[in-house]
């Protein structure tokens, strides 16, 4: 899934170039390219699909030149993850009704790839043997209030998966501490493994209307008419996440606890944690920066030929693009949302 607009990394991420397409870690690869690289270890490229919005299809093709063009699926509208997954599942079902699918965001970080592949092996064989909706639950390392949590039953199956009790919203810090202390909670990573049969059955049960819409296209999937018909039904789908639509309702939801060095890189703070830093804790994206009495800053300047001089600044996010300069206290990055609202209200959409 590569359709998000990732406004939290504004102004580095922009509507025209969101987070998944950026080399946001400064390692020479975009997050999408890293995600595709992991997928390639699990399946041949013919079996890898990117679902994104129409406007990002070209960037996707440019960043993944070896991916078959037909495997770039275009959502006609932004409708959150449920319609996106329903569409994908119906389409794959008509190719191979026995297929097991792994569904993942394209803008997350996974550091422990070996552990990730082990978890994937387990998940895929579990999904092949059970009519189960499997979600990857990350073992929490701190009481993070930026993630949703999944509460699981104590008893572990012999396959290493745990039955899910509840999905929770992002908790406050008190609750998050309690969650982590209890040992019953995992972070909701938004990565899923299931058979197309299992997920279509769940849609048929819990989102019958949406299911019927996609079912009505059964003669058009993987034909030249698919796109035209998809446009007609997509507009009628509810805008709803897979968590609300299915996961919180279904009885056959399981989580597999994973310790894979995962982050959703949802904030500048989390990005800061994962970037290389110099002795003074600064992380910068090129060598043309001069830091004086400056510590723990994250500085991103998109023009590598531009000189950046920082004196006496600690704990700031500095982002310089061609048409936007932002200097923001690292502790106050949640205000970036308000800044974007102000820009909209002032009809300055060109900066979004």
């Amino acid at each position: 899934m590569a359709g998000g607009i990732g406004s939290r990394f504004w102004p580095h991420s922009r509507n025209a170039m969101p987070k998944q397409f950026l080399d946001i870690l400064g390692i020479g690869k975009s997050l999408l390219q890293m995600t595709y690289g992991r997928a390639l270890s699990l399946a041949p490229r013919e079996n890898i699909y990117i679902i994104t919005s129409r406007e990002y299809a070209d960037i996707t093709a440019t960043q993944l030149p070896h991916l078959p063009k037909a495997n770039i699926l275009k959502e006609p509208l932004r409708k959150n993850t449920a319609p996106c997954i329903a569409y994908f599942s119906h389409k794959i079902f008509h190719k191979d009704p026995q297929a097991i699918t792994f569904i993942a965001p394209s803008d997350h970080l996974i550091i422990k790839e070996k552990e990730f592949y082990e978890i994937m092996d387990k998940s895929i064989s579990y999904a092949a043997q059970h009519e189960a909706l499997l979600t990857m639950g990350i073992l929490p390392t701190r009481p993070d209030t930026g993630y949703g949590y999944i509460q699981v039953h104590d008893d572990i199956t012999k396959s290493g998966v745990k039955k899910v009790k509840t999905f929770t919203e992002k908790p406050d810090i008190r609750l998050a501490k309690e969650f982590v202390r209890s040992g019953e909670f995992l972070w909701n990573s938004g990565m899923f493994v299931w058979s197309v049969h299992a997920i279509m059955h769940a849609f048929d049960t819990y989102q019958q209307e949406m299911h019927q819409l996609f079912y009505s296209l059964k003669n058009h999937y993987n034909t030249s008419h698919e796109e035209k018909h998809l446009n007609n039904i997509y507009v009628r789908c509810n805008n709803i996440s897979i968590d609300y639509a299915i996961m919180e309702k279904a009885k056959n939801v399981f989580a597999i606890p994973a310790n894979i060095g995962w982050s959703d890189l949802g904030t500048w703070g989390s990005l800061y944690e994962h970037r290389d830093k110099d002795y003074w804790g600064n992380t910068v994206n090129n060598n043309n920066m001069m830091m004086y009495e400056a510590e723990n800053n994250i500085v991103v300047c998109e023009n590598a030929d531009k000189l950046v001089v920082v004196q006496g600044l600690n704990d700031y996010i500095v982002v310089d693009t061609e048409d936007v300069l932002m200097i923001c206290n690292k502790e106050k990055e949640q205000q970036i949302k308000d800044i974007l609202s102000d820009l909209k209200r002032q009809s300055k959409e060109k900066y979004l």
Copy 2:
């Protein structure tokens, strides 16, 4: 005099575009244009000369389109103020040996123009009647350690001028306080009024070698050969200021105390004092800036179409040019000198 490179406003001022040519106050006029405007109230444009270096002759002509081109004098080399004033004085002497000249930097601010013209009237008539070297001494309003001071004798002449005892270097704060308390000290503004006869006599007395060099060109001033010959002698002049060369030595030096709202705008701090500020004490150079929890900053972005967003920043200088971004604590602006040295050492002259 418009030959300075004004590196203290780097990176807004640059070697290619120093302070005097910038609209540094954000009022639609450069400091040079403001200085020229004051000069026009004192003399017809034929009698106004700009002495600058060769590389700035074109900018000067562009900014002062009504000034006769022949009145833009080009120093072959940077040699400080003494050779510059000697050249100018010899040249004018050959036009009009009776001339009274007013010599001023082009990058200073004068707010009280009415008082300035009153002082000029007095100064010019005093210089016309006396073989005197008259310097404008600013009545100090605070113990500033960034200025040189002029100590004067207590007794004032009926013309309002005071005999000068000594010129001082920039004092430390303790001494500066003592200077201001005593009432005997004025700020050295670098503005002078004298007859060309008086200043040439002084050069002949105290800088005989330099005087002879410029005297040797007597048949070439105001001819097509002037520039060629000037090149030959300028290289042989000492690099020395008018203060060291003449003012500290001559016996006929007088100061006229002036209360004219003067500043040499020598620091970002002094510029901040003189710019319009919003309710939160921020001074910005265009309307495309969004400030959140930000106070007492000076923000200069040369690209008026670029959006600048500042969150949680107080007391900083932020300057964004096409190829340099600088963020500097306002209290630490003296470090900009070190930054420029570092740039030279790292062979990054293109940013100077």
